[in-house]
Amino acid sequence: MPNLLIELFSEEIPARMQARAAEDLKKRMTDGLVEAGLTYGGAQAFSTPRRLALAVEDLLAESPTIREERKGPRVDAPEKAIEGFLRGAGLTREDLEQRDTPKGAVFFATIEKPGRPAAEIVAEVLGDVIRNFPWPKSMRWGGGNLRWVRPLHSILCILSSEDGAQVVPFEIDGITSSNTTEGHRFMGGGRFAVSSFEDYEARLKRDKVILDAAERADHIWQDATNQAFAAGLEVVEDRGLLAEVAGLVEWPVVLMGEIGEEFLELPPEVLQTSMKEHQKFFSVKNPKTGRIERFVTVANRETADHGATILAGNQKVLSARLSDAKFFWENDLRIARAGMGEWLEKLENVTFERQLGTQAARIARIARLARMLAPITGADPAMAEQAARVAKADLSSEMVYEFPELQGLMGRYYAEAAGLPAEVARACEEHYSPLGPSDDVPEGAVSRAVALADKLDTLTGFWAIDEKPTGSKDPFALRRAALGVIRIILEGDLRLKLDTYIDAQLVLHKIGLNAVKASTGEIDTLEEIIDEISDHGVFGGAFHAVLDRLKARDDAPDTGDGSLLRTVGELVPDISTDLLAFFHDRLKVHLRDQGLRHDVIDACLADGGDDLNMLVKRAEALGGFLKTDDGDNLLQGFKRANNILTQAEEKDGVEYSFGADIKFAETDEEKALFAALDAAEPEIAAAMEKEDYAAAMEAMARLRAPIDAFFEAVQVNSDNDVVRRNRLNLLARIRGICLKVADLTMIQG
């Protein structure tokens, strides 16, 4: 069976797109071939800066002939129907066969699709793949209409077997397929013909192209680590950079160079970021000093002077770049040592979001909330507030302006330079965490308070102005912020009623959003509500308490319909509920990844679910319980009880809720259930009180056997109405007791 080799040779493909493009070529090409009937043994795709290649092994030489039988109209059908069928099938009358069926004599046709040679199919599929290639960005060039990532120059396409290779002939937008390609742009020896994949790969290597990106990456890493090792140093690992650099060269030549002495005092992260972002250099560390002292650059060619000119040039560019970084660093340190006041002042003129105001206003809100949250994370309130006040200061620094990805980290350096406490400096860096599902949550208590405050302020802010994420659109990364809050609470084992802080922060946003038009009295009242929320824990209570207090005052602000206070009072609870539901949705996604079903969480949301930590503990216990035999049976028993009860309640128009009396119990099973419920009820209540959900589940598990036995032996709908009602009330006890643990009606299955 023949092998297929394809190479699409173009001008330089962006490094970040190469791996994906090679995979897309493989997938689309092989899918197309298989769909056309050409199966194959194996396929491998490759990419270099100037080419995508695909090698398909053991391809069918031609697609199989396909016979298809089609049922036509009845033999006595109108002539028009028969003609229509013949037209559709591309046949004549003679090709038809009559067969008797239960519905009478019917025409049948056998259509034969003859197999086609591989070359014909390959040409067709490849043309299609090229025209519809999913590049993230594509372009036209010259006078042509074809789109590719950069101008496409040649297409190599051959089918090879023991008998030799033949070109698969086709043409696309002026490019004719051939069996030739070229090697390295500078070190290659011009175009050459190839006869198979092995020949292709070997000829490329001779012309200084390593086809396989993984092989280039390996070579770079080996050579870099060897050179570093020989100098007693080590290369800082960076897989993303390695993949990128492997996509920038066809013939990697690793060169190690020195970083000027005057730059070695820069923070290692600054050196690393500057070298990586601007120059694609690897950092080389001295394990003894921990400093980054050298760099590794990867050239795309060998030279007679063994890279001396290339290295000197790179070193010069690096010096210019690091001079800039050093200039920023020194300027920044001066401002940091003076207390960062200049930066904080600047933030008064920087807009965070048009409606939500300046960065300075945002910082003030976060500081206030961080102070409130401090006792929960175990931080000193004053320190949490102080940390929040300086945590964003580095946004004004020159270094962060130049390298935004260093935000937070520079904040830590600058806070240290300003002589602030270590916990505060640490919070400057950690409060952005976790940045994604794989990023750690902050460790420090102060960091946690600021991180929670920052994220909650952002979420409540965008909820207050109704800028919530929709579908795939989440420009302010609100989902990530919510997940961050969830993870800090869960991984930090923090206990807090989330809605208390959401409510307070929403009111704070309302103050900011209405600052211009609100009266002093109104602002003061809103401030009073915030204080009251912190004391009482709920917005509704706080709001009414403050409103009641206002009645006694002569100078009270307007609280009538349409007044600011009334609007806030009406809006905040709804927004707060909506945001808490958003947290629950994110929590479900988060826990689903850890194997906890969403309906189990729903079952535990009955009392609001504002304490996420407790919610999860309860859901985990319930999830574990439902996986046991007892749990599953109890659930069935509960559902049965609930169904019977619901039907009876609907029919009778009453709610059966209490009054079950053992004296009307007729059977042993009935009596046993009474006894079991009497025993379980206080046990469950006590366990729930202690938040010992496992114990509550265990107590509930002990109900399984008596409930099963009850349903086995007892007919609830007795003819004796007293007995029937008593039994229904007994079922109501089952329902009541179980619902105290969780809303089992939410559980599916």
């Binding site: 001008e11 330089e12 962006p14 490094a15 970040r16 800066p49 960005k137 594509s138 372009m139 036209r140 060039w141 010259g142 006078g143 990532v149 950069r150 101008p151 120059h153 500078f186 920038l248 060269v249 120059q279 650059t297 050239a299 795309n300 060619r301 030279t303 007679a304 002077d305 000119t309 290339i310 000197a312 040039g313 790179n314 010069k316 560019v317 690096l318 210019a320 807009t351």
Partner: protein, 310 residues
Amino acid sequence: MTSPTAKPRSFQEIILRLQNYWAEKGCAIMQPYDMEVGAGTFHPATTLRSLGSRPWAAAYVQPSRRPTDGRYGENPNRLQHYYQYQVLIKPSPPDLQELYLGSLAAIGIDMELHDIRFVEDDWESPTLGAWGLGWEVWCDGMEVSQFTYFQQVGGHDCHPVSGELTYGLERLAMYVLGIDHVMEMPFNDPDAPIALSYGDVFRQTEQEYSRWNFDVANTQVLLKQFEEAEAECEAILEHPTTDPKTGRRIVMAHPAYDQCIKASHIFNLLDARGVISVTERQAYIGRVRALAKKCADAFVQTEAGGYAEA
């Protein structure tokens, strides 16, 4: 590839070699546009001529001004006035990369010793409503040129596509000549009877313009000039296509485009004066882009823009 050429010795020699090289390759060697612009792309030989179906090949030096980059002549490589070398060929020839590499060889960059790389860098000009795909070209890790295939200009799809090359001349020359501070770069032959450095020619003007750009330019006057240029651009394009005096069809795309360039430069000056807030900035850029689009619309209604009388 190309055999090593003797190293050039001055800034002007590098420019002259580029001129000769691209002249040999068939480009019309044009002169700088006689207005203040921020980059060589603004020259109508690029912006307007990249539109429409008629072939075009031009190369030129363009003095360019970026008022915010002024450093009083003290920064080793930042200037508020500098030179760009610009090449525009439509349709982009299949060997444009090789032609470009030939130009590097012509100014003394030995391909056998240096590492030349094409690194992804897509180009977008919000003020011109233009974008393209291409690379920044690295020589030993140093960006020496921009290489772009224009896809859209003034809101119009480019068909055929132009290939555009832009060389930052001072930076490139400093690299080739091995100079660390732009002001120390020989402008003419260092052995000439009157040898002049870049600083001899430009240090004083850098100081003068830095002061004027940052602190002195009359913002009230500039704001007024911006409005006037904008109004004039629009007014020019509102005239009927037939000239009442000659009876000919004359669409005044170029005079209108001059006003667009003027507005763009005045915006840059206002920006350097720090009187434009972040939100206003977007609005100003949008206004210039609207002018550029109208000029592009007008140009494709001209003969040079491919318009043919039905």
